[in-house]
């Protein structure tokens, strides 16, 4: 039963219109899953559905034995502890790096001082402590990626979804980032899904690779 308890499972139909499709996916905690498929194959729809930005058309999303979406129950994104590293990162442009990372803990009710401490620690963990006071617009692709990772991990998520994590990163910065991500995704109790159009991207990150076509 413990195996079932620590599983993220998505079974049913997702998406609307031309993005509609059937999925059946189980992600065990600590075993990152890679999804490979061409653009337009519905990978983003799947991520949105798991994160709660879209609803299942039918079927259910169950996380660690708790229904988060089955047509009648629907947990809002913020109530799922499921974070996304979007392909375009989506750092808040009006906030400093530190404010960006503080955002999650603040949302979950942490007092300002605690949120700041956690943000500093998270930035330090991804090697981005020196960027704390910068604005997102002034960062390079690799730096942004680190900040986005810090912002996601600082909330102690149960699920992390990465959409094309290397898309905006130049080839020189990729090995370091890959190492960082690999370490982050293996955190105990964390369910991780990495999506890419290129199987090469998933090397060293995903223990299981699923083709999504």
């Amino acid at each position: 039963m413990d195996g079932d308890e620590l599983t993220l499972s998505v079974h049913g139909s997702i998406g609307r219109g031309s993005f509609a499709r059937e999925v059946s996916l189980d992600v065990v905690a600590g075993v990152p899953v890679g999804l490979v498929g061409p653009n337009g194959s519905g990978k983003s729809t799947l991520l949105h559905t798991v994160a709660g930005l879209e609803r299942m058309r039918s079927g259910s999303v169950v996380l660690d034995g708790t229904v988060v979406d089955d047509g009648s129950t629907f947990l809002e994104p913020g109530e799922r502890r499921c974070v996304v590293m979007f392909q375009d990162l989506r750092l808040f442009p009006d906030m400093s790096v530190e404010r960006n990372v503080e955002f999650g803990p603040r949302c979950h009710g942490a007092p300002r001082a605690e949120a700041r401490d956690r943000a500093v620690a998270a930035l330090d963990a991804v090697g981005a402590a020196h960027l704390a006071s910068r604005m997102p617009g002034t960062l390079s692709g690799g730096e942004k990626q680190r900040v986005a990772l810090a912002r996601a991990l600082v909330t102690n998520p149960r699920v992390i979804l990465l959409d094309e994590p290397f898309a905006a990163v130049d080839s020189d910065s990729r090995p370091a980032l890959r190492e960082l991500l690999a370490a982050a995704l293996s955190a105990p109790g964390l369910h991780a899904v990495v999506v890419s159009h290129d199987p090469e991207d998933l090397r060293g990150l995903a223990s299981v690779t699923v083709s999504f076509a």
Binding site: G78, D94, F103, C107
Partner: protein
């Protein structure tokens, strides 16, 4: 297009713009500059100005508090309900203001569906009070703000708001921390527009609130009455009001447009 035709179009367009700006120039030319200050600073006019300032500021606040969140919610929702709500919200814009005033009177009047119980249970009567002036102004200017601000929210990247939601942000926090900062320029412009509308509101207030000097008489009503009794004062007052309205728009718009 031949050069001559393009020139015709250019001149027509420029003429159109000049045409629109004429009231400003015309009033400046006709202004009785020497006696203007005396007219504008007379007691009744000062009272009207004070009523206008109070009511328009209050209604701008009400419109902002109600309208900006509504505009955001509309911009982020699709489907039949949103369409219905949107069409209802803009309806005051399509109503002739005097009809809007009568409508407000029938709803909030002594025998109105809301006004009746209000009077009976709390002894509280809205028509022909300053509250009525504010209500008229809110009713008339809210749609302008909602429309202007909604289209600005619509152009914002909804992805940022999604990111905030996955990080645990409540709707209120998404609105206040992500959406609002992104649209602050347009929100400023929308508030300025609604404020200017409130300042110039006439038809709805005169039927719903009446024109009682010192109580409900605003600057436009004062101008309307002064035309037949003290023409120079009405000109001076119009000029003052125009300066304030245009100045308001120019100041708020430019300041917020540049920084956003």
């Amino acid at each position: 297009m031949s050069p001559s035709r393009s020139r015709v179009l250019t001149w027509l367009a420029v003429l159109g713009a000049v045409f629109v700006a004429l009231p400003v120039a015309g009033i400046v030319v006709r202004m009785p500059w020497t006696s203007a200050w005396g007219s504008v600073s007379s007691g009744p006019v000062r009272a009207a100005a004070w009523v206008s300032v109070q009511t328009s500021v209050l209604s701008a606040i009400v419109v902002t508090v109600l309208g900006v969140p509504l505009a955001w919610a509309l911009s982020r929702s699709a489907g039949r309900t949103a369409t219905l709500v949107r069409s209802v919200v803009i309806t005051p814009m399509l109503l002739p203001p005097v009809v809007a005033g009568i409508a407000l009177l029938t709803v909030f009047g002594r025998r109105g569906i809301i006004g009746g119980p209000l009077l009976e249970w709390w002894g509280f009567s809205i028509p022909f009070t300053r509250t009525a002036v504010v209500l008229s102004q809110v009713f008339v200017s809210l749609p302008f703000l909602v429309l202007a601000v909604e289209s600005a929210f619509r152009q914002l990247d909804a992805g940022l708001e999604d990111a905030a939601r996955t990080l645990g942000a409540s709707p209120l926090r998404v609105f206040a921390s992500v959406a609002l900062p992104g649209a602050r320029g347009a929100v400023g412009a929308g508030i300025a527009l609604a404020w200017a509308r409130s300042l110039g509101e006439f038809g709805a207030s005169i039927t719903f609130a009446g024109s009682f000097p010192g109580r409900t008489q605003t600057v436009p009503m004062s101008v309307y009455e002064l035309v037949s009794t003290d023409y120079e004062a009405s000109l001076a007052l119009s000029f003052a009001m125009m300066v304030v309205a245009v100045g308001l728009i120019a100041a708020l718009r430019d300041r917020w447009m540049v920084t956003s």
